[in-house]
Symmetry: D2
Subunit: 252 residues, 4 copies
């Protein structure tokens, strides 16, 4: 049995942070050594002997937190949203001084969602038609979802790269909106239904066959396996990795 990964969680009192506290505590190969909330000193991390941090805080403090960790040789897994290009460039400069440290920043930690998107982009080059349906709870303010837009963009890029022609569509008599929103040429349909959480289907079709890739997220706990996988692999992926797919053995 190897030494457990010693984890400090930042933002531990938020909803995601609390879930991470539970998930790390339950993992047999990890030890939760510190759980910091708003107002706690970052020195608690090093005092506790952490080798890894999970940052689930707010955009305003995430960069300072991660920089603190990297400068002390700690690996980091970052679920805080809002990291822009200049911030990532600054972090890479810091990582240049600590070449053994690995940082994973991911906009989406749901393994199934990341896999489904990768599979969809790959499969889309082999089919005539492709459309995206995303389904969410009715309190969501944006339609389509950011994930669906990104999925459609990746699909469109893959098809362009492979020289796939536009999907066939003979529609002449159209009720406005029926064929969805076009995202980079890919129709995206957004369903809002009480009872649902966050779901997405990519439908692909060719003569005589169809392939459907569906991901269901039933809540925040769906991010935990991805965060644990990040912690387990950060040390073997030095430098900055952006996107959980970098840690998945997808080969494409």
């Amino acid at each position: 049995m190897s030494t457990p990964i010693k984890v400090a969680i930042l933002g531990a009192r938020g909803r995601m942070g609390a879930a991470a506290v539970d998930a790390v505590s339950a993992a047999s190969d990890m030890e939760l050594v510190a759980a910091l909330g708003r107002g706690d000193q970052l020195s608690k991390i090093t005092d506790a002997g952490a080798t890894h941090v999970v940052d689930l805080t707010v955009p305003e403090s995430s960069e300072a937190n991660v920089t603190f960790a990297v400068e002390r040789g700690l690996h980091a897994v970052v679920g805080t949203t809002g990291w822009d290009e200049p911030q990532r460039a600054r972090l890479e400069a810091v990582l240049g001084q600590h070449p053994e440290v690995g940082v994973l920043i991911a906009p989406n930690f749901a393994l199934g969602s990341v896999l489904a998107t990768s599979f969809a982009a790959k499969a889309a080059t082999y089919f005539d038609s492709v459309e995206v349906i995303e389904l969410h709870h009715p309190n969501k303010v944006d339609a389509p979802s950011g994930t669906a837009i990104r999925t459609a963009e990746l699909i469109a890029a893959a098809r362009r790269g492979a020289g796939v022609p536009a999907a066939p569509d003979a529609t002449e008599k159209l009720l406005d909106g029926a064929r969805g929103a076009l995202v980079d040429g890919v129709p995206v349909h957004a369903v809002r239904l009480r009872g649902l959480t966050a779901h997405q289907e990519v439908l692909l079709g060719s003569e005589g066959e169809a392939l459907t890739l569906r991901h269901d997220s039933f809540g925040h706990s769906s991010f935990m396996p991805g965060i644990l996988l990040g912690l387990r692999q950060a040390a073997s992926h030095p430098g900055l990795s952006y996107g959980l797919d970098r840690y998945l053995d997808l080969g494409f």
Copy 2:
């Protein structure tokens, strides 16, 4: 064993008619006594001793065909499209002279489709949210499909009748078309995918649960069970019945 139903099929050389010839021939409780195509004399029907006719012809000749049958005491199952109100009124007048004769005119003979639509309208009064997704081959010229529009209208009417409030939807940031076409207040999404035939899903949701009613039609053969059911029940439903649901024991 009772006497077989003696069936004459009109329009027997069309795609639907040929399928009906096969279906009636295969039914153990029926006997195909005549199969008429364009140019055949209607007298062939009576010469052959038919007790029932199936009309799968064209709008221009359907009324004359059915009237001919009714006037001779034959029951009729009509899949030809285009019967308008005045035509049905004229047929009802003829049926008034032949009160024992039953005629079924149905715009849709797919049992599963008719059941799904009935179930959807019934269930829609018990759920907060309801949306329709229809999926067809990419050669279809109208979007959404006629069936989807009719389904949405029946759902909307049922909800109005039961005083159900509008489905919740917090969308503020919308990409045009993403939330589908609104048909009588019900969002309808149309997918066009090579490989598919004709499919429809009604999705219903409330706090903590969802109900999905999906119908798949894989081809014209899906109409045959409905036509056979019509033939079996026409004699016990005297007068004009419009819509296959009239022959189904749905209770609502």
Copy 3:
């Protein structure tokens, strides 16, 4: 605006009871007047002026609770499991003395589940083939679920009643278990998957078409709409009603 329904909840500190407290409190046509837990005196119900009770307690106390309510002219909605025939007979005797009182005892308060089962039994008489797939979290100890067994039994009874022959199946070379468990002649398949809660699909097929009825339950909150519906309709359904379908306008 009519007078609100004055509700007392028994078993209010359990998981279901707490959800009911929230649901009744949030309903604009109801007023929560009492919330009783283990050890509370039943007199609290009448002291608070309740006109309806919800019993979400334990099998040992449910009969006494409901009898207490009925004897005082209060309507009751009962989600406690374990009511057997003798208990229901005794309750009906008490109800005979209070003919204006309505009691609903339901083994399943998820509206969508009750509707899906009713629809399945109805549709099963019109299709050649029918199978049931239920999908649950992996901590479930019984397979198939009680709901799936009951669904299969209702389907089988409906098909027997309508004289539908056995579903076709040419299987000769079988890996043990592949075709599911036969419940009254209907194949039932049980999937156990981490991440899921409680889900069921009834698949029906005939030549050229398929109909799929799927119900998803995402948690205990799915029972709340059924409990509220029970409260709203109990007064207009005097006597004992067993099963939520008795309150649904299904016509069959």
Copy 4:
């Protein structure tokens, strides 16, 4: 515009062969130069100037056909079933003499099916639970299908390779068959439903999320895109390739 691929189809009068004749004729980058049936001389292939052959014949003649082609420097795409190890070894010896020639032998030419199986094996290493449901027409004699068995075996191998523990399952009270057939530890459920053709779902689940990979085959035409892809890529894949996945850019 490059020179069209000159294709000879062997077995052109069978069901698959006839579909291939249509598909090759419709492809803008191909030219059908010969269509051979039982009894035709193989010399017709070379007389017609073919550069590629498609073999859709019978196990008894397939090896001789393909050997004939390879010896004359023609590339081959083989959909005939029954190629065993000794046959493939003999063919590889012939190919050793013609190192520029490419031959693709594939047990399954449905692109979507091949992709779905690859994706399933890849994803299965990241999820706690995985099960397979296959759904076919009721005339199928084996249950589960060969494709489902192979999918389960590949999933099991991938999980073993990654050290994934067995899927959780608390079932204690089991109705025989309910949990499916165990194929290498993976539950496989087989549904038989009139109206269906050939369909397969792989369901994967972890805490809070599920991933579903579904493939629908609606008929033999689903094999044509795979055959065309084989023809387009055979020349750039010299030697013997077994399995269409060898020609897909899957990276794993």
